[in-house]
Amino acid sequence: MSDAFITRTEIDGDADGPLDDQRIAVKDNISTDGTRTTCGSAMLAEYVPPYDATVIERLKRAGATIVGKTNMDEFGMGTTTESSHFGPTTNPIDEERVPGGSSGGSAAAVAAGEADLALGTDTGGSVRCPAAFCGVVGIKPTYGLVSRYGLVAYANSLEQVGPLAPTVEKAAELLDVIAGPDERDATTRSEGADTNYASAADCDIDGTTIGVLTDLVDGADERVAAVFEERIAELEERGAEIREIELDSLAHAVRAYYVIAMSEASSNLARFDGVRYGISGGFDGDWNDAFARAREAGFGSEVKRRVLLGTYALSAGYHDKYYEKAQDTRAWIKQEFDAAFEQADVLASPTMPVLPPKLGESLEEPLQHYLMDANTVPVNLADLPAISVPAGTADGLPVGAQFVGPAFGERAVIRAASALE
């Protein structure tokens, strides 16, 4: 049995629709009515949601069959799927290596053919990273394009649900199904209504200006950079105009991302008190004693680390130093991206600066683990759409290329990625 799934299911669609006969794997932080939704955590190992997330309702209405809930880093906190309470998922391309994360189970299920399509969630790269490491396509939509109702929150100002698929066109078709405003998520926007992203996968790159984010190429492993540069040169031969773009703000993106994500996590995960759901902390002492015991038992190390660091960053005396400066950085990155889109239609970089690490290899130093997110987090901070598309291999391992678009510019990144496919 595959280690991509935490729970196998067979939830049939309600109607005939564009996803008839499609087997879909769903990341286990997306609520499914009557099917347990664990977030890869001991805290929610027995949690069975009493309602469907909006994206699940939309999948069912489109005729999809949900074949399982996929493994993930606990509450989405990780880049390798190794922090799951249920154990790691292996990369179908090379079983000694991680599939990436945090949506590693969703990417592995698609790469191994155990699902036709999958949903993941992307807070700092969690759809694009596993897509790159497993050799599939993954899209992080513009913030507000897809409803987060029923998604168990980790860092709600950064995250979006996104599709994973074997091809750009199939990923775009799934995005067409899940995109669109939802009255139950006040951050959704009307731009997502009645989309036809699949029609943008026409492979036409002639006349497109691609801005190469040189800071993110220079920071990458040279084997990864070589594959990326070769493919960009090929697009230039096919009529794309290539420009080099430097953004000074990107050097601070990982710092700002982790301050904001950890701060939001410390607040969002306060709900896990072991009273309404989760592991009970018992009845000795007062409420605070019981909560603290429930959370010791229910959370793994990485979750504790992020909740504590977030609590620290928001605490009196440190809020201005960390959180305020991280918000400045976020605004700076947005401004620099806006300026870059005056010179280019899409921006490009390697999705991940490294090849997929071996299992266990990246766990010892949390900070080194966080640095793997350098190329993916800027997009979440700037609320922009991005896609990861397979670009080739280095040493037999998949390399992904990332295209970033302006807000609600999904068609531009889908078109560029389809040309590279």
């Binding site: 601070h252 301050v259 902390g281 000795d284 409420w287 959370r295 504790k304 609590t311």
Partner: protein, 92 residues
């Protein structure tokens, strides 16, 4: 350089604020890791102050009763319930 000195007692204090019990080994390991991470965060100081005017749109709706979870559904995942209520430790 960094003024982020983090000892196990600081970690224990933050853990208390966050309502997470930690054993001693964990607090010690976290102290070293937190020092690394906070030291890395240090250069956020170099970031210029940015003035922004976020586009804000009023998304309030009228406050009308609508369908919600039943009491049974809301209690279904609770570890302990009594007479239709969540059960927790004594107050005070």
């Amino acid at each position: 350089m960094s003024d982020a000195s983090v000892d196990p007692a600081t970690v224990a204090h933050v853990a208390d604020l966050a309502r997470v019990d930690l054993d001693e080994d964990e607090a010690e390991a976290f102290a070293a890791q937190f020092a690394d991470v906070l030291d890395y965060f240090e250069t956020l100081d170099e970031v210029p102050e940015i003035d922004t005017e976020p586009e804000l749109v009023n998304v309030l709706r009228t406050d009308e009763a609508r369908e919600s979870l039943s009491q049974d559904e809301a209690l279904r995942n609770a570890p302990e319930t009594e007479d239709g209520y969540f059960e927790g430790p004594p107050v005070g």
